[in-house]
Amino acid sequence: MLAMTQLALVIDLNVCVGCHACVTSCKQWNTFGEAGPLSDQRPYGQDPTGTFFNRVQTFEVGEFPNTETVHFPKSCLHCEDPPCVPVCPTGASYKRAEDGIVLVDYDKCIGCKYCSWACPYGAREIDEQQKVMKKCTLCVDRIYDQKLPPAERKPACVMACPTSARLFGDIHDPDSEASRAIREQGGYALMPEWGTQPANHYLPRRKTAIQIHPDELERHDNPLKVDGKLPRPGTGEPALDDVTSW
């Protein structure tokens, strides 16, 4: 049975510019959060690495010269049928009934990594310092915070996105902005072949072309027979700019 509420992100690949602002704001919020740091190893060394909830990847689609660059933000998709949850031996991984967020109880996790094997998306990363599995929480410590103004009760990545490529909402509410975007802009789920029913959706790239037909410049019916009759000004005559520049 589907939960009443399913919070999710809807990410518009047509708008994402790959600036990684969602990555850094996510890292900032969650490393200072109440769950403790998202640890990094050798952050200033040659091969820095660390735990992230969100990554922006870049793909090139097509063959030169007809290529298109797709920036692809990737985080936990909060599947409606999450394969990572039933395999967890301790119950540390769970899906909340009230809002559909998939969470890890860091106090119960034994760090066996089995859930990461059971996630086809590679959304889970172990914290090498705390030795527990971590993943996107949809900023669960932020979205219900009554101390924040309602407009800021959103995941940090959504707040940070400069192009508004990230929508946040309840995808089981047909009137939410997120649901409407999925419905009206061809929102899709990743790897549908495994039946995980990801809650997060992506909006596809769209062709942006401008088409001007002759009847938009000169009316087709031309009711007073005046369109097109105006004499073209000679090249020496003052242009409109010269006339109106006073």
């Binding site: 690495t49 660390g50 990554r55 922006v56 990847q57 793909f59 689609v61 034994i110 990363e125 527990v132």
Partner: protein, 306 residues
């Protein structure tokens, strides 16, 4: 998937321990009275199981919390394994102790049957941990469970033959023959899974991974340049030659080499122990290959660094 030594040792040691116990109990059922062999053998089986259990702790980030892992037996095969393993160890201990104390045949039989059922359940749990992950297509087959069980039985029977040659020679030839048959069956099943996996077509592609319907997609950045958990856990990072060498090693060591030793020296204790050790090394190579061969769909997102 990157093979972890803790898991390689865990699965192979448990398999040998289970196989050894099943071999001992089968001899008892068949009416052999070899108290020395049964006592020492159950001790050896227990030692293998304990060693596997110890190895498993090295896989955990937080071994101190391992007790929690018995909680989700309703849904998790790993949790079920965590429950069945100590129960099986208790049954093996009880069976060995009952032999030592000279309990009645009924007690021995009921403990032995419980042990045999738990051994079978443990094979199913261990195999299903891997076989239940449907998008790891190399593992998602009944052959995974069959292989864990058959290879474990073969290895346990080989060890039983060696122990019998040492402690109870009349049983050695029978055990050697059974070990030969079990190894042959396991080998055939493993060849079947190799053949199956060679023909697998991955269901996930970059097109389904990012949802762009185009046959030509190439990654140019994965969001991190110094690697991540995703690159460390799911890529073994060894050249193709190593993977191929592991396959040839286990193809030689799991059946042909021990079979030759069993056939030509079925009564030599040393040769039989050598045969067990070589087969065990082969099983380690087999398990390594089992993990290295599995292509996790998440790897599609980690094809290029920059």
């Amino acid at each position: 998937v990157k093979p972890a030594w803790s898991v390689l040792l865990l699965t192979t040691l448990l398999g040998a321990g289970q196989g050894l116990f099943l071999a001992l109990f089968a001899a008892e059922l068949a009416g052999f009275a070899a108290a020395d062999l049964f006592l020492f053998g159950s001790g050896a089986s227990l030692a293998l199981l304990a060693a596997g259990l110890v190895a498993s702790f090295f896989h955990l980030g937080r071994p101190g919390r391992a007790w929690r892992s018995a909680a989700m037996w309703r849904t998790s095969w790993l949790s079920r394994e965590v429950i069945v393993l100590p129960a099986f160890m208790a049954a093996v201990f009880g069976w060995g102790a009952a032999h030592h104390a000279g309990f009645s045949r009924e007690v021995l039989l009921s403990l032995g049957i419980a042990g045999a059922l738990l051994a079978a359940a443990l094979f199913v749990c261990t195999g299903m941990i891997y076989a239940c992950l449907k998008f790891l297509q190399e593992w998602h087959t009944p052959l995974t469970v069959i292989n864990y069980a058959a290879l474990g039985c073969a290895s346990g029977l080989t060890l039983a033959a060696a122990l019998a040659a040492w402690l109870h020679p009349p049983l050695a030839a029978a055990y050697a023959a059974a070990a030969l048959a079990a190894a042959a069956f396991a080998y055939l099943m493993r060849l079947a899974s190799l053949a199956r996996n060679a023909r697998l077509r991955p269901k996930s592609t970059l097109a389904t991974a990012i949802g762009v319907k185009h046959p030509k997609i190439a990654q140019i950045a994965q969001g991190a340049m110094g690697g991540s958990f995703n690159t460390r856990e799911f890529f073994h990072g060894r050249p193709r030659e190593v993977v191929r060498a592991a396959r040839w090693a286990f193809l030689a060591l799991v059946f042909p080499v021990p079979a030759a030793l069993l056939l030509f020296a079925p009564h030599s204790t040393g040769m039989l122990f050598l045969s067990f050790v070589l087969q065990y090394v082969g099983l380690l190579a087999e398990r390594w290959y089992f993990f290295a061969e599995a292509r996790h769909p998440q790897n599609l997102y980690y094809q290029a660094i920059a």
